[in-house]
Symmetry: D2
Subunit: 206 residues, 4 copies
C-alpha cells in the first residue's frame, strides 16, 4: 500500500524566489521519501486562491484543482512562514477554504478529509512556531484531519533575529530529527487509517 | 482638535454583498460619530492587497493608497469575521503588510503608527471573538498601535450556531454597549495621544 | 480489546460544587460507554498539583498518582471551562506537567503518551471554545498525544452571555452530536493505535 | 507626578530559585527606574493564589493583598516563562483572578484597572514569546488595562534550544533595547492617563 504526501508552501513570496519554508518542506519530503512516500510541493502564492468558504469561488479560482490534489493525497503537509508571530495570510486562506468541508459530509458525518493525516512545517527568523502549530492544528482538526504526535516541525532563530533558514549553511540537527519523527509518525498513522478509516456516525432523523 | 477613524472590513465577501462585519462596523462608526469623530469604511476584499511585507509590493498593489488613509486617521478600527475560530485571511493580510513598519522607524525608534489607537470588531455565527481579539491586539501592538481598555467589540452566536448578525432584527443590547464603551475609550486615548505623542527612544550608536 | 478513557475536569471549582464542565464530560463518558469504553472522571482542583515541569515535584504533589492513571488509560479527555476566552489555569497546569515527557522518551524517541488519543471538552457562558481547543491540541500534540478528527466538543452561549451549561434543561442537540462524533473517532483511532503503536525513530549516535 | 510599577514574576519556580523571568523583570525595573519610576517585584509561586474568579476566594487566599498592591500601582508588568509555547499556569491564574473586575465596575462602567498601563515580559529557552504576548494582551485588555506600543519584551533562544536567559553572560542588545522602549512608552502613557483617566460610559436605565 503506497502513500503520497502533498506539501503546500504558504510563503508570501511569488514566482520562484528563494523561500526558507521551501527549504524545510524539501527536507521533510526527503524524510517521507526515505519511507517510500512520494510527494509534491506547491507554492500557493503562485495560484489564484480566492477568498471564500465554498469549494469553488468561480471567476478564475484555482482552489478546485488544488483541492483535488489535496484530496488525492494521504498526507497534507502545510508549510508557513511566521509573520508577527502568526501563520501567513496565505496559510490562513488555505485552511479557510476547507471550511467548506462542513457542508460536504457524507451520510456518516465524515468530511472529505477523514482518514487523512496533516502535519505542519514552520519557519521564521524568530519566535512564533508553536503558535503557528496551534492555529493550524486546530483549523485542520476542525475540518477533519488526523494529527500524529509531533505533527509540527520548525525552525526559528533567537529572539528578534534576522537570519533566514535558507541562508544557514550547516544543517540544524534538532530540526532534522524533529522532521524525521514527524514523517515517521505521520506515515505510520496514514498507513493505519488507509487500511481502516473512521466509520463515522450516522445522523439520527430529527 | 478633531479626530478621524478608518474602519476596515475584512470580510471574505467581495462587491457589496451583505456583510455582518459591515453591520457591526457601521454601528461602531455611529458611536464614534456621536463623539464627533468622522469615519470611513473600506471593504478590503474589493482591493488588490498583494501578499508581502513591504509597504509597496508593486504590480497593481493597492496597499500604498490604503496605508496612506490609515496613517491619515487617528483611530484604526479593524473588523473581521470569524472562520474556524480565527480572523479572516483578509484581516491577516492587512496586519501582515504593516510588518513593514519595523523598517520604517524614525530616529527615535517610532513606527508610523505611534500615537494612533487601534480597536477590533469581530462577528461570527459562533465562537471565536476573543481569540480574534488576541491575534489582532498582538499584531497591531507589535506594529506600534495603542490599545485602550475594551479595545474589542463583538457578536457571535451560541455554539455551532448559524444565525448571521446581519439577519438579527432586534439590536443586541450587550454588543451595543460594548461598542459604545470601545468608542469612548478609544476617543479619549486618541485625544490624549494626539496632544502628546510618545517621545520614543533614541538608539545608542553601536 | 477493551479501551479506557480518563476525563479530567479542569474547572476552578473545588469540592463537589456544580460544574458545567462536569456535565459535558459526563455526557462524553456516556458516549464512550455506548462504545464499550469505560471511564473515570477526576476533578483536578481537588488535588494538589504543584507547579513545575518534572513528573514529581515532591512535597505533597499529587501529580504522580494522577499521571499513573492517565498513562493507564487509552484516551485522555481534558475538560476546561473558558475564562477570558482561554483555558483555565488548572488545565494549563495539567498540560504543563506533561512537559516532563520530553525528558522521558524511550530509545526510539517515543514519549509515554505515544499511542494514546486525546480529546478536549470546553464549556463557557460565551465565546472561547475554538481557542481552548487550539491551545490544548497543540500542547497535547507536543507532548505526544494523537488527535482524531473533531477532537474538540463544546458548548458556549451567545456573545457576552451568562447562562451556564449546567442550568440548561433541554439537551443541546448540536453539542450532543459533536460529542458523539468525538467519541466515535477517538475510539476508532485508539483501537488502531493499541493494536499497532508508533515504532518511533532511533536516534543516530552524534 | 510620580509613577510606580509592580512586576509579577509568574515563574513555576518557588522559593528564591534562580529564574530567567526574574532576570528580565529586573532589567525592566532598571529601565523604569531610569525614568524615575520605582517598582516592586513579586514572585507569584510563593503566594497561595487560589483558583477562582472572585476577588477573595477565602481560606488563606493571598490574592486580596496582591490585588491591593496591583491597584496601588500605575503600571503592571507581568512576567512569564514559556512552557509548551504558552504562558505559565501561574500567569494564567493571575489574569483569571482579574475576571472579577467585570463585576466591579463603577457607575460609568469602569473597572478598577482603568487608567492603568500593562506590559509583558516573556522568557523561554525557545519559541513562544509572541503568543504569550497575545494571550496576556487580550486577557489584560479585557479586564481594563491600556497597552502602549511595544507592550511586550522578551528573550527566547533558537528553535528547540536549551540555554537559559539567566545563564547568558553577555547582555542581549536587542532585548535590552526592546525593554527600554517598552518602559518609555508605558511611562509616557501612564503619565497621560494619570493626569486624565477614561471618563467611562454611564449605563442607560434598561
Amino acid at each position: 500500500m503506497s502513500l503520497t504526501v502533498i506539501a503546500l508552501n504558504c510563503t508570501l513570496k511569488r514566482g520562484d524566489e528563494d523561500s526558507s519554508t521551501d527549504k524545510l518542506l524539501q527536507e521533510a519530503l526527503i524524510e517521507f521519501q526515505k519511507l517510500g512516500i512520494e510527494g509534491d510541493l506547491v507554492r500557493i502564492a503562485n495560484l489564484d486562491i480566492k477568498p471564500g468558504v465554498t469549494s469553488d469561488e468561480g471567476d478564475g479560482d484555482e482552489w478546485p484543482q488544488l483541492l483535488e490534489r489535496i484530496l488525492a493525497s494521504d498526507i497534507l503537509l502545510l508549510g508557513t512562514p511566521v509573520w508577527l508571530g502568526q501563520p501567513s495570510s496565505v496559510a490562513k486562506r488555505v485552511v479557510e477554504r476547507m471550511d467548506a468541508f462542513f457542508g460536504e459530509m457524507d451520510r456518516n458525518n465524515r468530511m472529505p478529509s477523514y482518514g487523512k493525516v496533516a502535519a505542519i512545517a514552520v519557519v521564521g527568523n524568530e519566535d512564533g512556531a508553536h503558535h503557528c502549530h496551534a492555529e493550524l492544528f486546530q483549523a485542520l482538526n476542525d475540518v477533519g484531519f488526523t494529527l500524529a504526535p509531533g505533527a509540527g516541525t520548525y525552525w526559528v532563530g533567537e529572539a528578534m533575529g534576522s537570519i533566514d533558514y535558507k541562508d544557514l549553511t550547516v544543517p540544524v540537527k534538532k530540526t532534522r530529527e524533529t522532521t524525521a519523527i514527524l514523517a515517521a509518525n505521520a506515515a505510520h498513522l496514514a498507513t493505519l487509517l488507509k487500511a481502516s478509516t473512521y466509520p463515522g456516525v450516522r445522523s439520527k432523523p430529527s
